[in-house]
Subunit: 308 residues, 2 copies
């Protein structure tokens, strides 16, 4: 899987994925009106609004990027109709040639992680028939339970040619509370990184592993250090834009050949029309504003990589 | 919320919840035949089988216990039909007077955790209307992202009178890889415990907090130590039975008055008919076997508490 992602990054020149994390407050009034008018002010109406919004964003951006990263929580909060649109969004993105990173951060004890792996990147066997479930290409995984909670995801990578990104150092303000604590003289996230490298050896795809790492762009020195410690581990890098990180901050996540990371932006792209610099597009042209913001982000990242 | 759980434990004399974690391999052939006959060997058929199985188990056990703990992964692996049965199971259990602990182990950055909290123990606001979503009473939470990932769940506890159980020390074999690592001379899980106590102060319900902890029964000394460190924190204790822990192992999770913990058993109860000691019930009487196994478990735990 990781070689496919890297090939698509090379083809598009964009080490970028768009975070399809719609909030109702991002969605233009006319879409909400249409959706609520059809389905009511209820989870079905909200889910329809998410779908109409996502489709427009994807239609306006799919040719520029290799991948998208829908955050399942934004759909899960609308229950069954929301999760139906999560699945519909994955299918639609894949039909447009995009790779899909399901941001689910699942993780549990072994047999339970196996069920999550089936759900998100594998298949489930029912009687004599195997079925796809959410059918993402890659999924994010929480490592707090250790190897037996992660291994079923690695097995699914191998069985189905998929990928995972394990949380190593997250982008949020309080990520350091546990992740930065010193264990034997080095931060916990470096111990997690060691394990990610170990797990990754069991699912190599050329020079790089299908077992990647989430490394927040908001901690630049950490990204650089982890790049050294994990030379064959691909990074999913959140935190650019709305969370405050710049292209310079995350330059260290790439290797000397400019490879090894994909940078996510969610609200900075999908709600671009709400930012002063893209306000000229107006609510009616929100998807065009997203395209413009995405082009600017790609240029900014490539400039940041060239300068570093 | 926690006072309601404790009251129900006292009324039933059973500090026990049944883990509604159905696997197809637990479900008697006649139920599978009926479900696959109606819906096919597909996620819809699997979901129907889960539902018929769950309903029989609940009907046979609800009067003995205060709560159930459905593991969402077992439903999520069957996609939308599976998650529909997750919701249906929650609603059915609540209609029988049971409290429901959704075992979802969610956790993400702040705004995203807010969406998960809404989904599982809160409500989601759509236009001018607030709706329940999965509507569990309590939910399990992963702490790896720190305070900003947990706080939205605590807020939901306060807004909706609900509860959470934060993973402190899990029951699985590799839980020690990160959780046991020494930070400033004490294991990481004790640092997590300190934070759980701190978060818990923001949602007290009498003497005890709505912010509880998951403490695996498979590590007896740890349970005892955490009970000392967390005198006002209620424990959800997995690992009894199929995972190997005995009543004696988990006695330390209770306080001197025999309060402070609820013990989960999943396959030991719901697949009891597959164990030699309950084989006499046969597949046709699987739900009666579950009731018998549950009665034996309650007696065993109360004996373990009395002896400790």
């Amino acid at each position: 899987m990781i070689s496919r992602l890297m090939k698509r990054i090379q083809e598009t020149g964009a080490p970028v994925c768009v975070g399809l994390d719609p909030q109702l407050s991002f969605i233009p009034a006319r879409i909400l009106k249409k959706a609520f008018g059809e389905k009511g002010e209820n989870p079905e109406g909200a889910a329809l609004a998410l779908w109409l919004f996502n489709r427009a964003i994807v239609d306006s951006t799919f040719d520029l990027i290799p991948a998208v990263k829908p955050q399942i929580a934004m759909y899960e909060q609308f229950g069954i109709p929301g999760l139906t649109v999560y699945k519909q969004t994955i299918d639609y993105c894949r039909s447009k040639g995009l790779l899909v990173i399901g941001d689910a951060k699942r993780g549990d004890i072994g047999s339970t992680s196996g069920a999550y792996a089936n759900a998100h990147i594998g298949q489930v066997k029912i009687g004599s028939v195997s079925s796809d479930v959410f059918r993402a290409d890659m999924v994010t995984v929480n490592p707090y339970l250790g190897t037996d909670g992660v291994k079923p995801f690695v097995d699914a990578c191998n069985a189905y040619d998929r990928g995972i990104f394990v949380l190593v150092k997250t982008s949020n303000p309080s990520s350091g509370e546990f992740q930065d604590r010193l264990v034997d003289g080095k931060p916990l996230y470096e111990h997690v990184a060691d394990k990610v490298v170990e797990w990754g050896r069991e699912s190599m795809d050329g020079e790089w592993s299908n077992v990647g790492a989430v490394v927040g762009a908001t901690y630049p020195e950490t990204g650089k250090r982890l790049r050294e410690l994990m030379p064959h581990t691909f990074f999913l890098v959140p935190g650019y834009g709305a969370q405050g990180a710049t292209a310079k901050d995350l330059a260290g996540c790439f290797d000397k050949d400019g490879r090894g990371a994909i940078v996510n932006s969610s609200r900075g792209i999908i709600a671009a029309y709400k930012k002063a610099e893209y306000a000229e597009y107006g609510e009616d042209n929100f998807a065009e504003a997203s395209r413009r913001a995405l082009q600017d982000m790609i240029a900014d990242l490539n400039k940041g990589k060239a300068e570093s």
